[in-house]
Amino acid sequence: MIAERLSPPTGAAPDGGLRFALGLRLMPGVLALFVMLAISVAALLALALRSNAGVSLTLLQERWFWHVLRFSLWQALLSAVLSLLIALPLARTLALDRHLPGRTWFQRLCLLCFVMPSLVLITGLVTLFGRSGWITPLLGGGWQLYGLPGILIAHVYLNAPFAIRVLSQRWQSIPVDAWKISAQLGLNGWQRFRLVEWPMLRTALPGVFGFVFLLCFNSFAVVLALGGGPRATTLEVAIFQALKFDFNPPEALFLACMQLVVAGSLFVLFSRWGGLQWLVAARAGDAWRPQVGMAVKWGGRALYAAVVAFLSLPIVSLVPAAAAAGRALPWPEIARATVFSVGFALAAALLAVALALAALSLWRHFDDAPRRRLVEAAAVHHLVIPGMVLSVGVYVLLMARVNWLEWGWVAIVLLNALMALPFVFVQLRPSMFEYDAQYRPLLADLGLQGWHHWRRVLGPFLAPALRRVAAIAFVLALGDFAVFGIYGNPSWHTLPWMIHALAGSYRLDEAAAAALLLLAVALAALCLLERARA
């Protein structure tokens, strides 16, 4: 149904010149598609052919393996459910309560979780919920952080903010007319929810759930540290072990493929469940929102306050240590690292956005579901390939031809862009869809094409969404550790790397200070990005 509506306006077979022009227009998309797929395939192949250690399929017979798989799925499922349970009411509050104090800052805070080094998060959560934690006395005598509670708290910390951001944007995309009509019809709260809000949620929820699920499925350091021991091990730990400690690339590859298949098919299932049928653009200036009941309003505000505290306290808990260490910081090194971090992250964010736009141009052009799904898979599959597997694969692939000590920065930018791509693509797609649904017939009449089209119509339309996704890509790349770990070089140290090095040589207070700086840089960048005029 959608496909029919979106088929290109050219009904008749295009003549040669037009076909050529069309082909030219698709070039960036085809190129992007090629880059996305070729890099993964080549990296995985390079790893597969690299060593003759062989894949040990005995792994499949070990009870341990199935235990790990089951645990990975179970904790990811619980974490995703819990994250959404918190995100849903809060996203609604953010969208409907126009007088909520500090909304803009809260939305930025929501992105900071992406740069939080795992060591810092672990320390922060231990300071709050650990044995002598600030919050522990409130939790009763039987409280024990280590185990499933620790894992769930950390995963909610890492993922609920993302879900909150995405869902509140979806909520805001409900057209004002729908709200107004529901008010005129005198619908009560429940009816309004069912008729106005639920259709939007139904399409958005499965995708968000799938995304959070995957993020938790791939989690590793946090699961180990707060899980209380190897009972709490995810598949990602096994991949890390295979690739790093046992140095058995085929086994790592096998595990990565298992992860790709299991997590990937679940993700497909979730996203198929949702859809794009009911999406209309949010228009600026439309501020009218229905009144909600007092109980709902103040309940939402209480939750908001609790989540603000939950998200900011681990950061606040860094302050005493950081203040103690401020003077001892190796400032010249830190300053350099900051410059490089920002440079890499900015370049990676721009590249990710460019790749996503190119892929979307192809996605829009295709009018059949299978080809569209190919584009989607190409853009999103990086979410399930561990960054370390991709990085090592590319490293091995080109190492005979490329001096990585000189050119590693290219790989850092490119691979970080690819890692951020799923976030960018998935969030940009609805905007693109809305655009097509609203303007495509009109544009076909106007005959506006190419640069002018971009400059005058598409660019301005997409600008808010572009800034939003660029911000996410930026913070993701800013927090990168895995890719830099392979291609890094002392001449281009980044902040996360400095934090790791500081913490690894007893300088935990200095590491806390550097982490605060990293968060501050991310926050400053977010403010700038959101203020920038495209």
């Binding site: 707060l226 021991g229 190897p230 190796p330 190492m399 000189e406 930018v413």
Partner: protein, 331 residues
């Protein structure tokens, strides 16, 4: 946006232009914290460059294991002349994959620490440390006298995962050296009062400093850091009657170096008194020479007996040990 992005790329291109290793005479692959400004790297580089009339470039991997993987991956393409920072548990693998070549150092001419009993023809030790459990004497008044006592409980313990961290692997080795085939039962006992097992040293140590546990697995030298850098003498290592397992950090010539003479000079320099005085107070490990003058805090450290297996045996049995540990503690 456009201007900003091109600026970023220009900055990156500039950075790439002054990448090291392209022009240096000697490229040393090592781990990250060795070459940080507070690590031994910068001081060693300055001293060695002053005597060799050459330039050194360091390349840092995340840690010793990542370092080994890197040279393994690169094979003949490696740019390393010297590989610095593997430990004794990784020696067997480095040798098996022909990543190193014999050095020309005569250990008999250096007053080496006797406990090391070092005579390897390819690997040169540059520092070492004994694994130990650290406690805060303001919180713990009667530390255990033996590993058996610690394992019996009930003190709260944090250690590192042997699948992802070298101290964790050290504990695996230690438990095996003390308990032999009875290790699984001891692991199960220890698991009952283990707070958590972290992927890296820094998470574990940080949790300990925040009061999450009575003991954390680290090195006998940890108290020296706190005494010297923080002026805090309350952190102490427990001395176990059974003896302690050591971690010996080594350097070697890369099998693919094109300047073995200079690389050998660097290895010899690492054993010099000058270098051996720098390393302990920057890398927080013990010197391998017995004639090095160290700060007072080092004199206070416990001096355990060394036990454990030889490097080749650790390499050969590691996988089985990890499986044994994993099954014992996750029941």
């Amino acid at each position: 946006m456009n201007i900003r992005s091109s600026l970023a790329f220009a900055a990156l291109a500039l950075a790439a232009g002054n990448a090291p290793a392209a022009s240096a005479d000697l490229t040393v692959y090592t781990y990250e914290s060795f070459i940080s400004s507070w690590g031994p790297g910068p001081a060693l580089k300055a001293r060695f460059e002053a005597q060799c009339d050459c330039t050194i470039a360091f390349v840092g991997a995340e840690d010793g294991v990542a370092l080994l993987n890197r040279v393994r991956l690169e094979g003949a393409n490696t740019r390393a002349d010297v590989i610095l920072g593997l430990d004794d548990s990784l020696i067997a693998e480095a040798r098996a994959h022909a990543l190193v070549r014999p050095h020309s150092i005569d250990f008999a001419s250096v007053p080496m620490v006797a406990a090391l009993a070092w005579a390897d023809d390819s690997f040169v030790p540059f520092d070492f440390g004994y694994f130990a459990f650290i406690y805060d004497d303001r919180k713990v008044s009667a530390p255990p006298a033996s590993l058996a006592e610690l394992v019996a409980g009930p003190a709260r313990v944090i250690y590192q995962d042997p699948r992802t961290s070298t101290p964790g692997l050290g504990l695996l080795h230690w438990m095996r050296a003390v308990y032999g085939d009875a290790a699984p039962a001891a692991w199960a006992r220890l698991a009952q009062h283990t707070v958590t097992v972290t992927s890296g040293w820094s998470e574990a140590y940080n949790m300990f400093l925040r009061g999450e546990a009575d003991y954390v697995l680290s090195y006998t030298t940890s108290p020296a850091y706190h005494a010297i850098a923080d002026g805090n003498a309350h952190y102490r290592a427990v001395r176990f009657a059974e003896g302690h397992v050591a971690q010996v950090e080594v350097a070697a010539l890369s099998a693919h170096t094109d300047d073995a003479v200079l690389a050998n000079r660097f290895l010899a320099f690492l054993l010099s008194r000058e270098a051996q005085e720098i390393i302990p107070v920057t890398n927080w490990m013990l010197p391998v020479r017995s004639d090095v003058a160290l700060p007072e805090a080092f004199e206070q450290l416990i001096r355990p007996d060394r036990i454990g297996f030889v490097a080749d045996e650790i390499g050969a049995r590691r996988a089985a040990w990890v499986r044994e540990w994993r099954d014992a503690v996750s029941r």
